[in-house]
């Protein structure tokens, strides 16, 4: 499988993971290690930036994941930029998952504020991975301002509903010059495989692993699904066709 390059970093795993909703730090670490994920996002709100002695960070640092702090909880560009600066200083990384969702129920991202914040954060030297609606125009605009990826949602975060936005995601993948990471709503390994077969560069999975009965086994299942989907994409999946291939062609008289 081809490795994935984001900014200046090479990833061999195309499965990105999150740290929320696990039943304990140990279960989280074991599941994330089993997933072979190399990039792990965590919410600033859960981290104790003052003393780094909290329930999440030690487990992640112990397993040597690349950290992707996210701004979950902020409601506009100004708050996101402020939080990003603090994260960069406290965690010594300029990578940032930009999440701006003023709606606290479905956590749907605010495209307008996200674009505004992304523009400023890129100028300030951040590697920005923005969480967005599956909006092809917005994704091109984010690419134009210099984000490292786009991260469109498959369906509302935590919903496990799969790729309900598949038609838009297909357009985003077709048009994008930067990696496309399908971010939210992936509830089953088959959803992850579908995204990868479509040509997504990576997927980010959290809830489906964290709240499963057996998070380690589910993490492995996602790993395999992502690999299977990617391999199928690279092997050029046979086109599905609704048209019959006639064994006696109608146009043979032309040759």
């Amino acid at each position: 499988m081809e490795p994935l390059k984001i900014a200046d970093t090479i990833f061999t795993s195309r499965l990105f993971t999150g740290t929320g909703k696990f039943s304990s730090g140990i279960v989280m670490r074991d599941a994330l290690v089993a997933s072979k994920s190399e990039l792990v996002t965590m919410a600033l709100r859960r981290i104790d930036l003052k003393n780094q002695n909290d329930d999440i960070l030690p487990y992640l640092q112990e397993a040597n994941f690349k950290l992707l702090p996210n701004t979950s909880g902020v409601r506009n560009a100004k708050e996101a930029i402020f939080a990003a600066e603090l994260a960069r200083e406290a965690l010594q990384t300029n990578w940032l998952k930009l999440e701006i969702h003023p709606d606290p129920r479905y956590l749907l991202p605010d495209g307008e504020e996200t674009l505004k914040a992304a523009q400023e954060l890129v100028k300030r030297g951040f590697i920005v991975l923005p969480y967005v609606q599956a909006d092809p125009v917005l994704c091109k605009k984010l690419e134009d301002v210099g984000t490292a990826t786009v991260m469109p949602l498959g369906s509302p975060i935590g919903s496990n509903n799969g790729l309900n936005t598949r038609d838009m995601i297909r357009i985003i993948i077709e048009q994008s010059n930067i990696p496309v990471v399908v971010d939210a709503g992936i509830g089953a390994p088959s959803h992850a495989a579908e995204a990868m077969e479509m040509g997504a560069d990576a997927v980010l999975v959290n809830t489906a692993i964290a709240v499963s009965q057996n998070p380690v086994q589910m993490a492995i299942a996602f790993k395999l699904a992502v690999e299977a989907g990617r391999m199928a994409f690279e092997a050029k999946l046979a086109k599905q066709s609704s048209m019959a291939n006639a064994s006696s062609p109608l146009t043979s008289f032309l040759s």
Binding site: F22, D55, E79, P104, A210
Partner: protein, 370 residues
């Protein structure tokens, strides 16, 4: 405004409607992917009691999907027990001759340091209504002291003015808990005899003020033990529905405090049993998968333990209802608002949560986000 909506309802008719819900209504509500307010009525009706197991199963699953296997921990800090109101069910009531105290800022810091040692990062500040001794200005100064040690500040105080809320938000306020106590306007006056709290409208309009200034989270609920809990539960749901649509950037949390023993003679008018409270929590979860549900130390240890995985999302622990009680537990007992029901330490509570396969979350906010 919600006061306009509530005018369209008649308390007795609403009660009758809830009690007339049938088993068929309950089954249809249970099968609905997105229960309506009418379905909610069925879920809190007597007819739903025999379906409590199915409700629990569904509530548990939905909660796990939305909130994960986590329980957030918070702790109340009573700043003052001075109160200008006379409410028949409350130990702080002005008419009760109890020792009164308002914490100084030095004492607040002492308390917060004691609280931090227990592990808490989310604090809920509680006062009686005393606009001079413990008003908005006092709270803002208290925030300055508390912010150095905590990650999130909530308040449960008298309704404030819009500009006071707004200024407290810029000083670090995250959540405001405000309980209407009862939505029965006629009967409200029987419980709230004197003081600003006797003004039903001022209290109910405070939610609009909070929404307009964009507070992060509003906690609402009613006091179980005053009027028929089913009817108050319905009006709280109606209120929640209204607020969600009107103030879409605000989060909501809900809880149903049941009356506890306190100084004074008030006997509950309506009893909500353990089973009823469980039914109500499940009904809310089915009705709104995003609303946070808190269960305080008013409830017993065994009850709380059993509810950890069934729909609740946050719990208090090692709570003291006497101002000054964390740093000086022996001196202040006579100042308390009511006697708590679960006396375990925060560490024991966290261990119990872990033993149930859930993570105890101490920190889920940061001042850098606001």
């Amino acid at each position: 405004m919600f006061t306009d909506i509530i005018k369209e309802y008649n308390w007795e008719q609403t009660t009758n409607l809830i009690y007339s819900k049938t088993v068929d209504d309950v089954i249809s509500a249970l099968q609905s992917k997105k229960p309506t307010i009418d379905d909610f009525m069925a879920l809190i009706s007597p007819a739903a009691e025999q379906y409590i197991e199915q409700m629990a199963q569904k509530s548990s699953l939905i909660t796990k999907k939305r909130f994960g296997k986590t329980i957030q921990l918070y702790v109340p800090l009573y700043l003052s027990n001075f109160c200008q109101n006379n409410c028949v069910y409350c130990g702080f009531s002005a008419k009760n001759s109890i020792k009164r105290k308002v914490l100084t800022f030095e004492e607040i810091e002492e308390e917060v340091i004691a609280i931090k040692k227990l592990g808490f990062q989310h604090i809920l500040l509680v006062t009686g209504e005393a606009d001079v001794k413990a008003g908005a200005e006092y709270l803002a100064k208290a925030f300055e002291v508390i912010k150095k040690h905590m990650s999130s500040i909530s308040i449960e105080v008298q309704p404030l003015k819009e500009e006071e809320y707004s200024s407290l938000i810029s000083s670090g306020l995250n959540t405001v808990y405000l309980y209407q106590e009862t939505y029965n306007k006629q009967k409200y006056a029987n419980y709230h005899l004197k003081g600003n709290k006797a003004n039903f409208e001022n209290r109910i309009d405070a939610y609009e003020r909070l929404g307009r200034v964009g507070v992060y989270k509003i906690g609402l609920g009613f006091l179980a033990g005053l009027e028929d809990w089913r009817t108050d539960a319905f009006f709280t749901a109606l209120h929640l529905n209204y607020l969600k649509k009107q103030y879409w950037k605000t989060k909501f949390s809900i809880s149903f405090p049941r009356l506890r023993p306190h100084v004074g003679q008030f006997e509950p008018n309506s009893i909500m049993t353990d089973k009823h409270l469980a039914q109500l929590i499940f009904a809310y979860r089915l009705f709104d998968e995003n609303v946070e549900i808190a269960l305080s130390t008013r409830e017993s240890a065994s009850y709380r333990d059993n509810m950890i995985s069934l729909g609740v999302t946050s719990m208090s622990a090692e709570s003291r209802t006497d101002p000054g009680g964390y740093a000086h537990p022996e001196q202040n007992k006579e100042l308390e608002q009511f006697t708590i029901n679960d006396n375990r330490t925060a560490a024991q509570m966290a261990e119990t949560i872990r033993s149930k396969g859930y993570e105890a979350v101490w920190k889920d906010w940061d001042f850098c986000l606001q």
